[in-house]
């Protein structure tokens, strides 16, 4: 699974929503290979709808999604799936497929319409499980795995897809602290392989840890877009989330790291 050429994702004045109900508009950003963009925004700000529109699970109301300058508006599903990997929020699933079978489904875009995954596909799936450190869970029924293990399996599935762009919808939601950190370090590792990663999160600290760019979605529009240090400030967090937060710089191993420290007393007032 080698890094690919610099596929560049650009989103141009995208309006998204459902027939008769526009959720967001005028969203534009660009992403180079190997970059991580972190999408922040309150509940209901339209993050999932935006992601579904990026993947063309919803047709855009206006604007365009481009890969290497070419609009994906007319691409067949299979072509989209060879470029975009999608990590949805983990669900239980209806049938007890094993973890390996679930990850193998990530190979579907590389399997002929009437075909079945080959030995090569199987090796790719095993390699993806191994890359996420869950090779020992290969034969575990997916519904019997813990929330964290399921999330890792979904990342492995997206990895088996060999995408150049990875869209992750709140990959750390409902994970314990250890698994959150593990998923984020995998995000960083994937970016180092040359994959462009877009992920949404509720935790601005995660953006400080792994993002090259932060997009702050507020009421369907991009309130801010830029490097984490410029976007995540007490003023913007106050504006978007309505709470008081201090952004503190500390030094770790000689490098400056920022963290958010909410103030409970001031936020209650």
């Amino acid at each position: 699974m080698s890094a690919r050429g610099a596929v560049r994702l650009s989103v141009e004045r995208l309006a998204f929503g459902y027939p008769g109900r526009v959720v967001g508009r005028d969203v534009s950003f660009g992403l180079a290979a190997g970059q991580v963009l972190c999408l922040l925004g309150p509940n209901g700000s339209g993050k999932t709808t935006l992601f579904r529109t990026l993947l063309r699970l919803l047709e855009p109301e206006a604007g365009a999604v481009r890969v290497d300058g070419a609009t994906i508006a007319a691409w067949p599903r299979r072509r989209i799936a060879r470029v975009f990997g999608y990590v949805p929020q983990a669900q239980l699933g209806t049938f007890p497929f094993t973890a390996l079978e679930v990850v193998l489904m990530g190979r579907t875009a590389h399997v002929a319409l009437f075909g079945s995954p080959s030995a090569h596909d199987r090796r790719q799936a095993e390699a993806a499980l191994d890359a996420l450190g869950i090779a020992h869970l290969a034969d575990r029924p997916y519904p019997e795995m813990s929330g964290g293990e399921r999330q890792l399996a979904l990342v492995a599935r997206a990895l088996a897809q060999e995408p150049s762009i990875l869209v992750m919808d709140e990959p750390t939601a409902s994970l314990d602290f250890g698994n959150q950190v593990r998923v984020l370090s995998h995000v960083q590792a994937l970016a180092q392989r040359g994959i462009a990663v877009v992920l949404s999160t509720h935790d601005p600290d995660q953006a400080f840890l792994c993002a090259d760019q932060v997009a702050l979605l507020h009421e369907g529009r991009l309130a801010r877009l830029g490097p984490p240090a410029e976007v995540i400030t007490p003023a913007t967090l106050r504006e978007v989330y309505g709470v008081d937060v201090d952004v503190i710089t500390i030094t770790r191993e000689g490098r400056a790291v920022r963290v958010c420290l909410p103030s409970l007393a001031r936020s209650a007032g």
């Binding site: 299979r78 949805p88 699933g93 007890p96 497929f97 079978e101 599935r157």
Partner: protein, 307 residues
């Protein structure tokens, strides 16, 4: 008849050499028992395969091939034919055509009402139209001649293989084969469909087209076999569960195992229906009598097949 006589008769049919046994044996083997055995295998296999496909497609282990109204449609077609005192072939053709038509109407309704969840809309449309067709069946039963037509209607609605002929088998086999081929070819895509609309599409599956093909295939098979057997419930629901219990949910194994188990199950049940009592016991009654406790056992014995 002894097994030796049976093999002599079969061998002579293959080689063309006369066997010298009474010709009644020929009649029994090739016109009475033979077609019935082949029909049991064909009907059981088709219903189980359609059930396995639908349970995956609708992501629900409680779904049976009837969910989109194919059986109710076929029942209405057959009952109409009986009510109009038509011949056997006309009754079967009506069952087949109205069964297909019912699902086509359900699919068109679902497509016209396209919302976020196409599966839910399809199932709801299936329930509504199925209920409507069921009411039409009830109306015809109410209007039918209680001495001639009503027993025939009741017999058809409970299912039977007693009067299946070689001609029936020849008429129905193409629709079963035509239905099975796409399911076998799309076996891997069927697994991905169980992840749900968004995930399957994100993994590169054209869900709308695949759903249409699978529904058409399962409907063709079901309408075909129901037109010669009448309504035989339970197989399409129960057999895929048992198969999943044995080999897991991977459609590449689930489909062939469902086909084998469905064929074997109906063959066994039909043999019981024929031999248990002095009169034929209706198939639909027997599949339920055996199926219901068996189904509960499968549910209790496994969390693998259903969770």
């Amino acid at each position: 008849m002894t097994p030796a006589e049976l093999s002599t008769v079969l061998w002579s049919r293959v080689t063309g050499v006369p066997h010298g046994l009474p010709s009644t044996i020929d009649t029994v083997v090739f016109n009475v028992r033979g077609p019935r055995i082949v029909a049991a295998i064909l009907v059981g296999a088709a219903l189980a395969a359609a059930g396995a496909a639908y349970q995956g497609l609708f992501r629900n282990p409680l779904v049976s091939p009837d969910i989109l109204g194919v059986s109710t449609g076929a029942a209405l077609g057959a009952v109409t034919g009986i009510y109009l005192s038509l011949g056997v072939v006309a009754i079967q053709s009506l069952a087949f055509v109205v069964g297909l038509g019912a699902v086509a109407v359900v699919y068109a309704t679902g497509a016209a009402l396209r919302r976020h969840d196409p599966i839910l809309i399809l199932v709801l449309a299936g329930i509504v139209i199925g209920t409507l067709l069921g009411s039409c069946v009830s109306l015809l039963k109410y209007l039918a001649d209680p001495y001639n037509q009503l027993p025939a209607i009741t017999f058809w609605l409970l299912g039977s293989l007693a009067s299946v002929t070689i001609g029936d088998l020849k008429a129905v086999t193409p629709s079963v084969v035509l239905g099975l081929v796409p399911l076998v070819l799309l076996r891997w895509r069927m697994n991905v469909m169980t992840l749900g609309e968004d995930e399957a599409r994100a993994l590169g599956v054209d869900t709308r087209r695949l759903r249409l093909v699978v529904i058409a295939a399962a409907t063709l098979m079901t309408a075909g076999v129901v037109s010669i057997s009448g309504v035989v419930g339970w197989i399409g629901l129960l057999v895929p569960h048992l198969a999943r219990f044995l080999v897991g949910p991977d459609f590449r194994r689930l489909l062939p195992v469902s086909i084998l188990l469905g064929a074997g199950y109906l063959l066994g049940v039909d043999t019981l229906a024929r031999t248990m009592a002095r009169i034929e016991i209706p198939l639909g009654v027997l599949t339920a009598f055996i199926g219901a406790p068996f189904f509960i056992w499968v549910l209790a014995a496994s969390r693998r097949g259903w969770q």
